[in-house]
Symmetry: D2
Subunit: 418 residues, 4 copies
């Protein structure tokens, strides 16, 4: 293991470009740049070359799009994972994947350190570092941006002084992260939560107000909880997401504007776009409504919130995530079938669903059978179901306390529960 | 108490009209009809007269709209109650209110029985009967429709034979229930879950495809968790709902098409419209994101699902509902502020929020203060936060088991968790 | 399939003996008696013969002790399942097993019906019937005791009139059910919850007040969550239970006296004895404390309560149970190691534990390593951890509301939260 | 506010004695020592004098025993709070109380800082600091032990060099913290989790093996969830705890030996003694079993674990704790009645319970009433309750998948769920 080699997660942007030089000059590392393709849509060959020009001793690009789709996105989709009920853990999900590739490349090159460009204010430092430590506790972790905390002006000055190319185009006013599963946008004017997000905050979705297309139906087929066909055409998970990003984005669907609780103790205002993710979760939930029995459905709903929080909090490579996945996978065996999504301007909803494993069936022979005895059965059920409430009311009344419900209801204006 | 007087929840429709006569003829009751105004929009004076014409000895109309809004809807709004994540417990909520008025009228008239027109297949029988038994366990409960189980044709024949007026207009193919908080529609073609709901299934909302209006902003002000002003104009809770039903409905927003798990053990396909309810819950949640701290936010989210299920399951008049409300009310003290909703065709989202109790504040003096020490604090936090995962990885590795993460990652294609 | 053959779960007692004859005479069934050995300690060969003497056309005994231990008890042990925090689901667990054997025998003999001797007041009817319906929805289920509801005197009269042997010994004043995992006792004087249970209510345990033995240590070894050795001697799960029933019972440990909520809506007072079950759960939990990380530990604790309730409620043969087991099995991979239990009169506790997968290790090299940076790390952690509470306090103060914590604390006697 | 005055939580021990001098010499503070009486049993007047001798400018003793009992312990008792199912949050509970008195004294004296003697390895630093920041975010917090991290030898040398009295008696090998609610003991030989705790680790309880007394009954009366009488004699909460500490400790009851997950990411081995706490929780739970309906009971059980974790994690002065207390208080209205505890050597259990609000009553008139219709009601209930499982089994069978339960059961040895 070479203690003075550091594999740096490299995006091609200003901060990680400065980091290549800074880590070398300040800490003496030979830097290997690593760019991981998670569907962000950048020209990664250009990114690879740029790292070398700046001074990396080596530069690696990994196409992890299918791995990301099959082994990360498929799981959060089966979990219907939405942090705080809204955010489909877009950036949260790519960080452990990137961390695992940092470790792989470090092992392949015998490096003793890995580095990342996360700041000290966000969640991503947690996700990358906890993942690296779970996978390779012996590696040193460098966090130059957090450690050195240069302002943007200082970064530019440093870049110019060291001959690092600075983008000549106007810098975005936002901090953006994007991948196959969605796009995150923060900072700038968005820091005022009362301000409506301006149009230039969006890139994955059209302005819904400009959509003139008529509504469009898309049928998504699921096999064991993951998409396997779109409108009858077989697809990989990655292809399904790309297809629905395109359709949904074209209808201006998939925007999220929210205040969220970061793990590091502060609230932030985030604008996300995730047309494919939200469409797929909508369809997946709808199919589950049809094929999961009530007990499983209700329990899984509670587990889903935990799952999303766990992923958001950077705990991907942990025993709990594996145990939750074991639960989820067991529930997905029968999540097979079709859901028809209807897209309109800024909207997407399920308008039909069917499955060989449907637990709803109007023509089910026994359904009519139940009808014949439903009268007695239902009456008996209601009697037993309501017995605790009735006994409670009777005993409270007998005990005379303030809880006597009948007196309360009879009273003038006074009511049961006050 | 007069054992042979029965107060019947009366809607004016065929079934409860037949029930008036049937309960009298078969069981010897004198019937007092009770129609409760929960915002369903019917001509209740006409309903009142009709009951008398059919043979009720007395007929009562109660305007419970404000009671419904203030004492029932306000609670489920504070709870963001959506059964199975989707259904704003529209009918579930009116049933205990109606039951409480059945009991009040029974007490006022000294009646020994109350009656309702629910079938044996649905949830409403549970909600009405459990509520009556909690409030007045001594009353007899009559459920003529469940007991006698006439088909629609038989009901019509019975009605004609007894001179009961039958609506001359074509009967709706659907079974509909509506109130201030929304509208439920089932049966007919909707029983095929693959079928897109036809346009005539909707009444509270325009077809989103026909909306040509430009997007519209509405600012909702909340005071301790309930709406207190719309666009700056003070409103009651009921007025807020009416206003947002109108705006939202006009944009075709608020439709829900779902498969749901009934308490009585079967799945059903339901189409709901709840523009005001969904708009208010959207706004309320958004404001909570701003003013509730993370721990309270996450705990309350779990409680909300329980609350919705409890209400759906007919357990309104129970000690658990009161205890959950005590929790919720405590959290709502600071849920005060403004949310700007933006309506488009078929859509509504929050585009801005502000509050004196905001826990997000870009200009918060101490925020910058944190910045000064964030580097160390964050690094320390990440170290402690990730320690269990790291220790676990180290120990697993030392113990040699299959769980060795590093070997797995290094392998060709093999990965951490397989 | 022979519609007029019924396989009856037969215990040899008065009720099911009467049921053999009654089902034949009243409903025309040929009865096949089935006695399942779940470790209840009865002479099942005698039970088998008795059924034939009374009139069964066939009589079968199945030794299901190891199946019960390996496939049922092992699961609830891994789940630390205690209904309402106290009851190790003793009877709840044998019912689905018995139901599965009813179905197997019915299939083997081509019978069209199965029967059981449960009353209409208890939980067991639910457990047996839901299990049969999940396994073989086509079978008719007979519940003669619930249907006919003979009093004990009537049963005796019926028995005498039909030449059915009645036990000559005095009948127990209690209703008892026992198996490998424990013993349940109810009725008689126990129906007064204020009454201390008399000594004759117990059979698996000595009176703790009469125990004069000195404390005794027993080391239980677990492999993937199930006991594999006692004091170094390899054991099957069934043998481990038998051994600890003996040791624990000899110390008067394992008695439970509780008021419990039945699924059918009423409370009952139950006296249980489960020395082996409680000792194994104590040991298993203690080992989990050592080898499960905090997140998994806390999540699993919540799941355990659900698991126990699900089993108690008769939902063994359901998809949710399988999914919960998938979660649990994943967590048990590293639940391997030794726990030393110390037994005293009426007590048992863990006094030592060790494991190759221990996440606690005083000599762990990195532990000292953490020490070197703990100062900064801990300080940073505390800063971040407490930030939401601090921001909340600051904002509440600034907003001036009643929540101002400082003023409250300063006040005369008034405090923060009132 | 005087920035150079610091109120230090002072115990009289070596570490905080050294801290008085060190904070003065190193940071220039005038120190006001504060000793809070939470029932630890020390001579606090001597502690007060000692602080002055060492150099504190002022020294204050506050008797907070009743405040601790009424406003802290009563709450965790109503919550049956046991962290990780075992630990009655003994030290966790006194820390926010002590923090509130630090703030009060700081305000009274106009001090600008408060200090504590917690190390960087434990939970107490979190509890004290988060509480202070919630109550008085403007105060500086000094943590000299964490900051300076002297070894014990260094502390002694420092003490001798500065004329600080060092206890002449042999120092305990353990780190101990005790109060009214219990006693915590760690370090020394206990750091080996396999080692049985030696006898000198205990102080609140006799060795159970040496107890020769016959079993003893004690009747605890509760009023709205808190103890109000012992054997018929009215008591305050503090008196009830003292009385049961004495009885329980005399029987050797109340010892806990556990591995626990600290908030700061490590596991520790802890030995606790809490005879009064565990006896009161046993009694309180037992009474709740009698008076809480099932839904409330089951929901509260889940909340209790959250409550204990929240208190353990130092989040006492937070909105979530207040909201949870609102829930709990609502449930305690009817937790009134008597529980008979039976103490034996090393054990304590409830052997009888009664209440005017009991939901169990063998003589309840309606109970017999239910009997008359139980047959039908129970049969109907079971039908409805089992319907989801049955429909699921039928549909799985029809869909042919691997889940066909009937084929599986029929197979040779193969079973339903494999």
């Amino acid at each position: 293991m070479t203690a003075d080699v550091c594999v740096l997660a490299y995006s091609g942007g200003l901060d990680t470009s400065v980091a290549i030089r800074w880590l070398h000059e300040t800490k003496g590392y030979d830097i290997i740049a690593l760019a991981v393709d998670v569907g962000q849509g950048d020209d990664l060959e250009a990114v690879r070359s740029k790292a070398l020009r700046i001074g990396a001793v080596d530069s690696v690009v990994v196409d992890a799009r299918d791995e990301f789709a099959e082994r990360y996105i498929a799981r959060v989709l089966k979990a219907n994972a939405l942090y705080e009920g809204k955010y489909p853990v877009v950036s949260s999900l790519s960080r452990p994947l990137i961390a695992s590739h940092l470790v792989r490349v470090a092992r392949a090159f015998g490096a003793g350190a890995v580095g990342h460009g996360c700041t000290g204010k966000g969640n991503d430092q947690v996700r990358v570092e906890v993942s690296v430590r779970a996978l390779a506790p012996d590696l040193t972790i460098e966090a130059p941006i957090r450690e050195h905390a240069m302002s943007r002006t200082e970064s530019q000055a440093y870049a110019e002084a060291h001959g690092i190319p600075v983008p000549t185009t106007t810098l975005s006013p936002y901090s953006v992260d994007q991948n196959l599963w969605g796009r995150a946008c923060e900072c700038g004017v968005l820091e005022d939560p009362w301000q409506t997000p301006p149009k230039d905050a969006y890139a994955y979705t059209r302005d819904p107000g400009s959509v003139l297309d008529p509504p469009r139906d898309v049928v998504v087929t699921f096999t064991e909880g993951v998409p396997s066909a779109i409108d009858g055409r077989p697809v990989t998970v990655a292809e399904a997401i790309v297809a629905l990003n395109e359709v949904g984005g074209g209808f201006g669907f998939g925007r999220i504007d929210m205040i969220e609780n970061r793990l590091v103790g502060i609230k932030s205002r985030e604008v996300y776009e995730a047309p494919g993710a939200l469409a797929l979760i909508t369809a997946h939930r709808d199919l589950e409504d049809l094929v999961l029995d009530r007990h499983t459905h209700h329990y899984k709903a509670r587990l889903e919130a935990e799952y999303a929080t766990l992923v958001y909090n950077g705990l991907w490579f942990t025993p709990l995530r594996r145990a939750l996945d074991a639960f989820i996978d067991e529930t997905q065996r029968q999540v097979c079938g079709d859901v028809r999504l209807t897209f309109g301007p800024g909207s997407c909803h399920a308008s039909g669903r069917r499955s060989a494993f449907s637990l709803y069936d109007e023509s089910l022979a026994t359904y009519t059978g139940y009808d014949t005895f439903r009268h007695d059965a239902a009456e008996g059920f209601v009697k037993i179901w309501g017995m605790p409430a009735e006994v409670w009311a009777q005993k409270s009344r007998a005990a005379g306390g303030a809880a006597d419900p009948v007196l309360a209801v009879e009273g003038s204006g006074a009511t049961w529960d006050e």
